[in-house]
C-alpha cells in the first residue's frame, strides 16, 4: 500500500564543470512511496521552481531502466540501495519516513560533472568508437542462418550485451575503472563468431582508449558487479583479461 513520507535531501549542486560545487539541503515532504526516485526529484523540482530556485539538473530519459541515461550516487551507492535497479526504477517504498538521503553525481576524472547530478559520459562513446563493433557494412551480410551460434554462447553474449552504458560501474569502483563496461562489449563480440575476426585488435584498441580516457584499473573488488543494474558479471572482466593477454602475446 502506498503512503506518504517526509524526507531530507542533501543534494550536490554545481553550476557547471568549471565551478566548484557544494551540498544543499532540501525538505521533501509528503512523498508518495509509489513514486519512483526521479518522480520524487520531479516533485522537489516543481516546488523549487515555484519558489524561484534553480531546479536540480539530472539526466534521465526512458524511465524504464533501459536507456542508461539516469544515475546518481544515493547514500553512497550508485543507483541507490536496491540491487539490479536503475535510479528511475528505484521506488520510494525503499525509504522510510524521516530518512536523510544524500544524492551525489558519479565522481570520476573521466566523467566530469556538467551540472548538479548530470555528468559527461562521452568517454564511453569514444571507447565504443575504438572497436566496439563488427566491421560489416550495410548490404554485406550473408543470410542470417548462414551463421550458426550455439544457444549457450548466444545466451552468454546476450548477458554481456545487456549493458546499458550507465557508468554505475565506474561510479562504484574504488578506482573509477570502466572495465565492466568495456569487458561487457568485448565479451559480447568475442563470444560470437561474427566478432571473431577482429577480436584481437578490438580488445587492444578498446583497452588503450579506456586507459587514455583516464579510467582507473581493476583491483578485483567486484563493486561494479554489485552496483550494475543489469547484473553484468565480472567474469566478463576475466574474459577481457584473457583476450588482452592472448592478443598481446601475438603482437
Amino acid at each position: 500500500m502506498s503512503k506518504s513520507i517526509n524526507l531530507t535531501l542533501k543534494v550536490w549542486r554545481q553550476k557547471n564543470s568549471k565551478t566548484k560545487g557544494q551540498f544543499e539541503t532540501y525538505a521533501a515532504n509528503g512523498i508518495d512511496t509509489d513514486c519512483s526516485f526521479l518522480e520524487m526529484l520531479d516533485v522537489v523540482n516543481e516546488r523549487l521552481t515555484v519558489e524561484g530556485k534553480d531546479p536540480i539538473a539530472f539526466d534521465h530519459d526512458c524511465r524504464e531502466g533501459i536507456c542508461g541515461m539516469c544515475g546518481a550516487v544515493v547514500n553512497g551507492q550508485a543507483h541507490g540501495p536496491q540491487r539490479k535497479t536503475t535510479l528511475c526504477q528505484l521506488h520510494m517504498r525503499q525509504f522510510s519516513d524521516g530518512d536523510t538521503i544524500v544524492i551525489e553525481p558519479y565522481r570520476s576524472r573521466a566523467l566530469p560533472v556538467l551540472k548538479d547530478l548530470a555528468v559527461d559520459r562521452s568517454a564511453f562513446d569514444r571507447i565504443i568508437q575504438s572497436g566496439g563493433y563488427v566491421s560489416v557494412k550495410t548490404g554485406q551480410a550473408p543470410d542470417a542462418h548462414a551463421i550458426l551460434v550455439g544457444k549457450e554462447y548466444a545466451d552468454l553474449a546476450m548477458d554481456a550485451a545487456q549493458c546499458i552504458g550507465c557508468a554505475a560501474c565506474v561510479a562504484s569502483c574504488p578506482n573509477a575503472s570502466a572495465m565492466l563496461f568495456v569487458s561487457a562489449k568485448i565479451s559480447h563480440l568475442a563470444l560470437l563468431p561474427q566478432g571473431n575476426p577482429e577480436r584481437e585488435t578490438r580488445v587492444q584498441e578498446m583497452v588503450a582508449q579506456m586507459d587514455k580516457e583516464g579510467f582507473g584499473n581493476c583491483s578485483n573488488e567486484y563493486e561494479c558487479e554489485a552496483a550494475c543494474p543489469k547484473g553484468i558479471s565480472v567474469s566478463n572482466i576475466a574474459r577481457m583479461n584473457r583476450e588482452f593477454l592472448s592478443a598481446s602475446r601475438k603482437k
Binding site: 542533501k10 550536490w12 560545487g21 551540498f23 550516487v73 547514500n75 553512497g76 551507492q77 550508485a78 540501495p81 540491487r83 544524500v102 551525489e104 565522481r107 570520476s108 576524472r109 573521466a110 562504484s172 574504488p174 578506482n175 573509477a176 575503472s177 572495465m179 587492444q204 583497452v207 588503450a208 579506456m210 586507459d211 583516464g214 579510467f215 582507473g216 584499473n217 581493476c218 583491483s219 578485483n220 573488488e221 567486484y222 563493486e223 561494479c224 558487479e225 554489485a226 552496483a227 558479471s233 565480472v234 567474469s235 572482466i237 576475466a238 574474459r239 577481457m240 583479461n241 584473457r242 583476450e243 588482452f244 593477454l245 598481446s248
Partner: protein, 229 residues
C-alpha cells in the same frame, strides 16, 4: 610489449605474475622454516645448504628482488593511476554495495605493512651475522637457530612478526583469487572454489609462519629441542 606494459591490464597482469612467484616463494620458505621444529641441527643444516647454493643462491636472490621490486613498482603505478582516476572530489558518503572483503579493502595497507615487515626481517635474520653473540644459547653457539631462539624471547618482536604475518595472510586471501581472475579465469562452478583456496592459502601461510615466533617464545631449550643439547 611497451604497449602491454603501459596498459592497465598489462600492468595488472605483471603485478599478478610477480605476486604469484612471490606466493610460491613464501610457500617454499614456509616449508623450509618448518624444519625449526626438528631442532637446531636440521634447521642450521638447511640454512647452511641455502648459504652454499652459490650461483643458484645469487640468481634466486636477484630474482626475488626483481620480482619484489616489479611487484611494488607496478602496484604503485596502478595506485597512482587509480587515485587520479577517482578525481579531485570524493564521495561524501561511501557505502559499499558489493562483496569487498576486509582483505580486499586492506590490500594497500597490508601491502605496505608487508614491505615494512620485510625490510625489518631482512636486517633481523637474513642479512644478520648467524654466528654472533645473538646465537649463544646456554653458552653454546646454535647459529641461526640460536639467533631465532633468542630474538623471539622478546615479546615485542613476536608481536611485530605476528602482525606482519596477519598482513601477509590478508594480502594472500585477496591476492590468490585475484591472480586467477586477472589471468582471465572465471567460471561459475570453479570461481567459488578458487576463492576458498585463496582463503586457505592466506590463512595457512599466516598461521604457519606465525606459529614459529610463538613456539620459540614459549619453549625452553631443554623442552623443545630435539637435538639433545
Amino acid at each position: 610489449m611497451a604497449g602491454y606494459l603501459s596498459s592497465s591490464i598489462g600492468r595488472k597482469q605483471i603485478v599478478a605474475v610477480t605476486g604469484l612467484f612471490l606466493t610460491l616463494f613464501l610457500i617454499m620458505h614456509l616449508s623450509g622454516n618448518f624444519l625449526i621444529y626438528k631442532g637446531p641441527d636440521a634447521y642450521n643444516a638447511y640454512a647452511e645448504f641455502l648459504e652454499h647454493l652459490g650461483t643458484i643462491k645469487i640468481l634466486a636472490r636477484v630474482g626475488l628482488i626483481v620480482f619484489f621490486l616489479t611487484h611494488i613498482t607496478f602496484t604503485a603505478l596502478l595506485v597512482i593511476d587509480n587515485r587520479k582516476a577517482r578525481g579531485a572530489q570524493g564521495y561524501a558518503v561511501s557505502n559499499s554495495v558489493g562483496k569487498r572483503s576486509l582483505a580486499t579493502r586492506l590490500m594497500p595497507y597490508t601491502g605496505t605493512l608487508v614491505l615494512a615487515y620485510l625490510l625489518f626481517h631482512l636486517c633481523d635474520y637474513t642479512l644478520a651475522d648467524h654466528e654472533s653473540v645473538r646465537s649463544l644459547v646456554n653458552g653454546q653457539n646454535l647459529g641461526l637457530y640460536g639467533l631465532v631462539y633468542n630474538s623471539f624471547k622478546n615479546p615485542l618482536r613476536v608481536a611485530f612478526y605476528v602482525l606482519g604475518m596477519i598482513g601477509i595472510g590478508l594480502h594472500l586471501v585477496h591476492a590468490v583469487q585475484s591472480i586467477v581472475q586477472t589471468f582471465g579465469f572465471n567460471h561459475p562452478r570453479y570461481t567459488p572454489l578458487v576463492k576458498k583456496i585463496s582463503f586457505v592459502v592466506g590463512v595457512g601461510v599466516a598461521v604457519g609462519f606465525a606459529s614459529i615466533p610463538f613456539y620459540m617464545h614459549f619453549c625452553t631449550m631443554s623442552a623443545c629441542s630435539l637435538g639433545g643439547y
